[in-house]
Symmetry: C2
Subunit: 496 residues, 2 copies
């Protein structure tokens, strides 16, 4: 057996266990009866522990050393060469952090999440504060396990966006900040579009059927996937050939099911598009959270909220929901689903304001990690930035600093990936338009296969073979850049 | 850590992997999209292999030796003592069979099942014959890994019915043979009950709702279980707190969904009733396939096809299906669901004829294992026995010797457990009636909690702590005995 095949075999066994844990965790959120919580916890802990033990074993270390020598002469972009590089990266990250620390971290996170849920329910930040402090201390200790970086936050970012630096993120937000605020102000100066028909009573089954038709047209492959319901929508790939999405029905927000389904299908089509050569290897799945989010946002926003998309689909949605939309025009509908309205809550934010929510969080978590912001000063810092970026003051911490689960879950470095997703989505969208002039007319006819084929070829099939910055450069010829996104927004909202 | 706790910890890790494999195999049959077949095969193979490796490791062997010394002074019926005994039994069985043989067996089975499916479709026994011969040869080699038994078939039986011997099975069938045939003849001499209302058009949703109400009344715990659809109905317990059943809708057999749901709920309530002390230990789950089948048959037949049951439920089923049953009496319905009609196909057989199908198979597989029947003579031997026991001649091998998957799947020794289930069910039913005189009137009021409580206390909570013969003896004071079953049938069909 060649050294590469040996490594592939060992990693294959790790992937089997990760797949099993992924499927069991899907089941836990979708079909598990309440009594199953203990046995599910035992199963997924056992599988994650075994997968970690196998991955960090000396056997993998030795196989990696041999494989590194085995690919020494090969093209740097060969799949084998890249595979070895990604195993090396993941192995180094997994073996640097001692098991004791991992256990301490898991315990602290578990306690922090429970307290956060209670603190949010009673809008009592003081109760959550010591747990947040503990999480921040743990994050600093985590960073110290790694070689010194330009910025300690680089280490945290790298868990979600391989190769992405704090300086990249700062540059990105610097370029977005003023123009995003200007867009919002310009929109606010105009009369708001009518949108009451979006929140009247719809039948869940009508919207679900329509949403399924839409993602079928996008190219979601139902022979390699399925959709179910869960409390929070998500997508999970058990490899590329069993990719599952979930949705939910929220009273008062009937269209959330539709856009949520497009969003999750965007994630899922990325997973479905990863090449067979990468299955059961370290290169399966998406390149990063940010690149993943670029796919969900592209289908949900660039496609699903575009005027052309509704040329094709609005008559169909009207036919499905004649009582609600029979007397609404496509223009009015399109204006309504794109209305801009600053909100306190990130997950309810529209396209124009979303990045400002992220920017605020990233700036605050950078300051917390640097130590320039004390936990006790966090609520006031949050509220100040909310006023500055969105002109709103949270009446309570529950609708302010306590709204997101991420910090209690130890997910520092994660928020930036949402904005990266928006930005990269616009770069891909613009690039595809440049190389494929029929883009808009095809979408106006409900023909998405040229777009999906292009994404498959340029992006999906590579899996984790290239890092996010490299990928964007290869596909668009440019670095990660906010200009296309700002152009897209300014074009959409008619502002400058 | 005590030697017992050490063993418990090691077995707990094995159980986590088995639970995970069970859940993944449930998913494969219930929700997996077709594309997932490869990744599901990889996951479940990896988990079964790891569970086997862990269970047969020297670590478990050493822990078992220490635990055996640790419980030496204890009461032979202590949970710890029994746990050690069952680990010992399973460990000996798992370590006797070399990995090479297991792999060869798995390969042969896989090929045999594919060929069997094709052979059945074209009713071509000759095509299947060499595969069946190979499976029989493997079974004989399997037997040779074990110490000499009174009969080679003992070793095969013991995989499904610990402690049960070929001689026990022979005795059982000898006592059943003539009286079962006599019952059928006596019933055939009477006019058949009218039953056309059982096969008119029903709405699946009406029957499903009614079936769910019935098993809810039985005591199936939905907070620790669920029901879904699958091609073949089954029950699976991921421990006692997540126990899942499936059902199916067969056109032309609307009531099959109802009785199938009762049947699977019987299996599931057994799993749900296993004591918490046995969870994640070798003692979780049911004592054997036969004891498991006693629970499904008891709820499906002794309860669900009794006249008292329909005192309570027939008005409810009429209300659910007024068009189909509005003008039918409870007596006519009860007679119809209990009509006796010899059939070629085992899975369509009624209570009176079912055991004859099993007897035929067990006699033939005994002869195949002994070598007194050649594979080439099997179809003729099958048809001869069909005429003798049921008065029918299969027009094709597809409806004769090729109808069941079991032999192609290597399941020699399995069929007997169906009859054991019927027999043990009747023993339990009679015993409960003897100690609880209100049995029939309670069922006539739809009150099943005394029955379920009694089963929980006497049987379910013990899990695998006692072997089948011991269990029956402890509960009924008698050995496994066909008399109660024959009394039950003769009483039901008014024959003697």
């Amino acid at each position: 057996m060649s050294s590469i095949d040996r490594l592939r075999t060992l990693i294959g066994e790790v992937m089997d266990l990760r797949h099993a844990a992924d499927l069991i965790e899907w089941d836990e959120r979708v079909y598990m009866p309440p009594g199953g919580v203990t046995v599910h916890g035992e199963m997924s802990a056992a599988l994650r522990r075994l997968a970690h033990e196998k991955f960090t074993s000396g056997e993998v270390g030795d196989a990696l050393d041999a494989a590194r020598r085995g690919v020494a002469g090969e093209d740097a972009d060969s799949t084998a060469g890249r595979m070895v590089r990604v195993v090396e990266r993941d192995y180094a990250r997994a073996t640097r952090v001692p098991a004791d620390f991992v256990a301490e971290h898991a315990g602290a996170i578990s306690a922090a999440q429970h307290t956060w849920a209670d603190a949010r329910a009673s809008s009592d930040f003081a109760r959550f504060a010591p747990h947040l402090q503990k999480v921040i201390d743990l994050k600093r200790r985590y960073v110290a396990f790694f070689p010194p970086a330009d910025h300690p936050y680089d280490v945290l970012l790298d868990d979600y966006e391989p190769g992405m630096k704090t300086a990249d993120v700062r540059r990105l937000f610097d370029s977005l900040r003023q123009r995003q605020v200007a867009i919002i102000k310009s929109v606010a100066a105009k009369p708001a579009p009518q949108a009451d028909f979006l929140t009247t009573a719809y039948a869940e089954s009508d919207i679900r059927r329509f949403a399924e038709d839409v993602v079928t047209a996008f190219g979601f492959d139902w022979t390699r996937g399925r959709q179910d319901k869960s409390v929070h929508p998500f997508a999970t790939g058990i490899g590329a050939h069993d990719v599952r999405i979930t949705t939910r029905w929220v009273e008062g927000q009937p269209l959330a099911l539709l856009f949520g389904t497009m969003h999750e299908a965007g994630h899922a089509m990325y997973e479905q598009g990863v090449g067979d050569e990468h299955q059961r290897t370290i290169l399966e799945g998406g390149a990063s959270l940010g690149v993943h989010e670029s796919q969900s946002r592209l289908w949900e926003n660039m496609v699903g909220r575009s005027r052309q998309f509704w040329d094709h689909f609005f008559p169909r949605l009207q036919a499905a929901c004649p009582a609600q939309l029979g007397s609404v025009t496509a223009d009015a509908f399109h204006a309504a689903i794109n209305r801009v309205q600053p909100t306190l809550i990130r997950v309810e934010a529209d396209e124009a304001t979303y990045n400002l929510h992220i920017m605020l969080r990233v700036e605050l978590e950078l300051a917390l990690i640097e130590g320039s912001l004390r936990v006790s000063d966090l609520p006031e810092a949050w509220n100040t930035k909310m006023r500055e970026y969105l002109g709103l003051t949270p009446p309570t911490d529950a609708t302010g600093v306590l709204q997101d689960i991420h910090w209690s879950a130890g997910l520092f470095g994660y928020f930036a990936t949402y904005t990266l997703g928006n930005v990269i989505a616009a770069q891909l969208w613009e690039r595809f338009g440049a190389v494929h002039s029929e883009r808009d007319s095809e979408i106006g006819r409900g023909d998405f296969s040229p777009l999906l084929s292009w994404l498959r070829t340029e992006l999906h099939r590579h899996g984790r073979k290239f890092e996010p910055k490299e990928l964007v450069e290869r596909i668009t010829g440019s670095a990660v850049d906010s200009e296309p996104y700002l152009r897209y927004l300014e074009n959409k909202y008619g502002a400058a």
